[in-house]
């Protein structure tokens, strides 16, 4: 039974990753689960310099989900390399660096730095964070900027490039194609959806940042549709995410067209989820007599 999948030139032992920003830098969960069982560890978004992030409150629980506006707090490239890389490089599974910038140049510079570091599995370009004023979704919702970010990063590295897509577009297909055409090796779909919650007693937004990004099971039906549409538009592999809580959810993403998946918000309440998903995919393959996990990918029965 083959569970391994290919993301550009990166081979993963299984298709189950963790979603950026929901797994810290791996080390935090190392006591609770064996990281070497994962397909890959994807770290929290990193830009060149340290980032303080938004004021609090930064998250609020909503029906079957969560809204967050962390604001990409992080140690910057150097801080990351000093504090977290020594641990991550000891892992047997690849580390994928989620990176961002406030300018196209910064994206490329961060990409260059991680290319130079050596040992990184892939780069995920976060052009879709809804919680920062400059950078993030600004790049992922503009076809030209998106293409430029991807192309400029492409120039500075041979590492597999994954573009993390914003769901906040009228149609995802042209954006998916723009990323593919600019040299992206894969797409991550989706980032959080812009959202808001208000405390009716105080009349204040429940997040200091006013708005945030919606994640968790509540967005799964939206994410499945986006994966399905993007899969029809591009040839590169898609990493599906958005509300995955169990193997059935992950398989649904794969049937819709994802070659791999990432577990996000579920880590917060059930850290074993990624391992449960891997076990469940195995069971599903046994039950259905599948030899290769890629037989699931895109197997949705829709009349063309």
């Amino acid at each position: 039974m083959n569970l391994s999948v290919q993301i550009g030139k990166l081979k993963l032992q299984n298709p189950v990753m963790v979603a950026s920003g929901t797994f810290g830098y791996g080390v935090e969960y190392a006591q609770l689960l064996d990281l070497n069982q994962l397909g890959a560890v994807v770290v929290k978004g990193i830009r060149l310099d340290p980032v303080r992030g938004n004021a609090t409150p930064r998250t609020v629980e909503v029906a079957s989900g969560l809204i967050n506006a962390i604001g990409l707090q992080g140690p910057g490239v150097d801080g990351f390399i000093r504090k977290y890389w020594p641990f991550l490089k000891t892992l047997k599974v690849p580390t994928i660096i989620n990176l961002w910038g406030t300018t196209v140049e910064e994206y490329a510079e961060v990409a260059r730095r991680f290319d130079a570091l050596g040992g990184v599995g892939a780069l995920e370009l976060n052009v879709s964070c809804p919680n920062i004023k400059k950078g993030g979704a600004q790049f992922g919702t503009d076809l030209k900027l998106l293409a430029q970010v991807v192309a400029d990063c492409r120039k500075v590295t041979k590492l597999p490039l994954i573009t993390k897509m914003s769901p906040n577009v009228a149609s995802i297909a042209p954006f998916a194609r723009a990323a593919e055409d600019a040299g992206s090796d894969a797409l991550s779909i989706m980032n959080s959806y812009p959202a808001m919650a208000i405390d009716i007693e105080t009349r204040k937004p429940k997040l200091a940042n006013v708005t945030g990004g919606l994640t968790g099971p509540c967005i799964k039906p939206i994410a499945i549709k986006l994966v399905w549409e993007a899969a029809k538009a591009v040839k590169i592999p898609i990493i599906g995410m958005g509300g995955i809580q169990n193997a059935a959810d992950a398989i649904e993403f794969m049937v819709a067209g994802a070659a791999a998946v990432a577990v996000g918000t579920a880590n917060f309440y059930e850290p074993q989820t990624p391992l449960q998903v891997i076990a469940g995919i195995r069971e599903f393959m046994e039950k259905h007599g599948l030899k290769d996990v890629d037989e699931i990918t895109g197997s949705v029965a829709v009349k063309k």
Partner: protein, 295 residues
């Protein structure tokens, strides 16, 4: 970085009974976790019967006894309400123990002054129980039913000073009132001693008493309660130049340091940075908290 050993386990409810009014005590059988717990740490609890709410809820670890540990919680919303409806024999998933707790009081060290508001008392019991030195517990609440564990602390031989806002139990007023009084009286005693000793020949011991550092070493404040109370305690500690450890109550999501929900502004060399209540905290040195930046 792997500082705090923690476990994720589904554990059995030994009992879950009403304490006073809207407070409940939940006892869980969890031998491996119980063995690891340090005062001031917390447990992150998944309340399975919650409907569309997904997150775990953090609770200070209240008591540890044999192979069990317990939490003392107030029903304030959907999670605690659902928890209160669970019964003995039921199961909950917990990740525990989590966070960096209080500095353990040392024999012959500073006298511990505990300050607690409402369920803040829960975070204090283990500290008092395991302290080689007895101290004073200042406990405040809105009304009589908010005063928890008075008996337990008295049974430990601690001096318990109760305040309620409505005066229905103990002294009327905020918990900071008797705290202030205590610190003032200690200062004037010291000043007295100082004066006396300055007037006489100074012994080595009395020498150390002359310095502000000495005043500081004599007591150490440990506090847990609502943020405004902690802020007031922090200010008082600063004014009296007394060390204070505050257990902060911030909304949490992951509880283990990955999501960056629970941060508070903490002074660093040249400025401040957001640190995680669940990981660097919940207990912080009062002097390092940048209150102006908090809401």
């Amino acid at each position: 970085m792997l500082a705090v050993p923690m476990l994720e386990q589904t554990v059995q409810i030994v009992s879950n009974e009403r304490d006073t009014d809207s407070y409940f005590r939940l006892v869980l059988r969890a031998p491996q976790i119980a063995a690891l717990i340090q005062p001031g740490q917390f447990a992150h609890v998944r309340v399975a019967p919650l409907k569309d709410a997904l997150l775990r809820r953090p609770f200070s670890i209240f008591q540890v006894s044999g192979d069990t540990f317990s939490i003392l919680y107030k029903t304030v919303g959907q999670g605690t309400d659902a928890l209160a409806r669970m019964g003995a024999g039921g199961e909950v998933s917990v990740i525990a123990p989590l966070g960096h707790g209080f500095t353990a009081p040392q024999r012959g060290g500073e006298t511990p002054l505990l300050v607690a508001g409402g369920y803040g008392m829960a975070a204090m019991y283990l500290l008092a129980q395991r302290s080689p030195q007895k101290g004073i517990v200042f406990v405040g609440g809105r009304k009589r039913v908010d005063i928890l564990c008075e008996k337990e602390f008295k049974a430990l031989g601690w001096d318990v000073r109760v305040t309620t806002e409505d005066g229905s139990h103990g002294e009327k007023g905020l918990v900071t009132k008797p705290l202030l009084a205590e610190l003032r009286s200690r200062r004037s005693n010291e000043a007295q001693t100082e004066k006396l000793e300055i007037g006489n020949r100074k012994s080595e011991i009395s020498q150390s008493l002359l310095t502000p550092a000495a005043t500081r070493q004599k007591v150490r404040i440990y506090a847990c309660g609502p943020t405004p109370m902690l802020k007031a305690v922090g200010k008082i500690a600063g004014d009296f130049n007394v060390p204070a450890e505050l257990s902060m109550d911030e909304h949490m999501c992951c509880g283990v340091g990955v999501c960056l929900t629970c941060v508070i502004p903490v002074q660093t060399g040249d400025g401040w940075e957001y640190q995680r209540t669940c990981t660097e905290g919940p207990v912080f040195d009062a002097r390092n908290i940048v209150w102006e930046t908090m809401k």
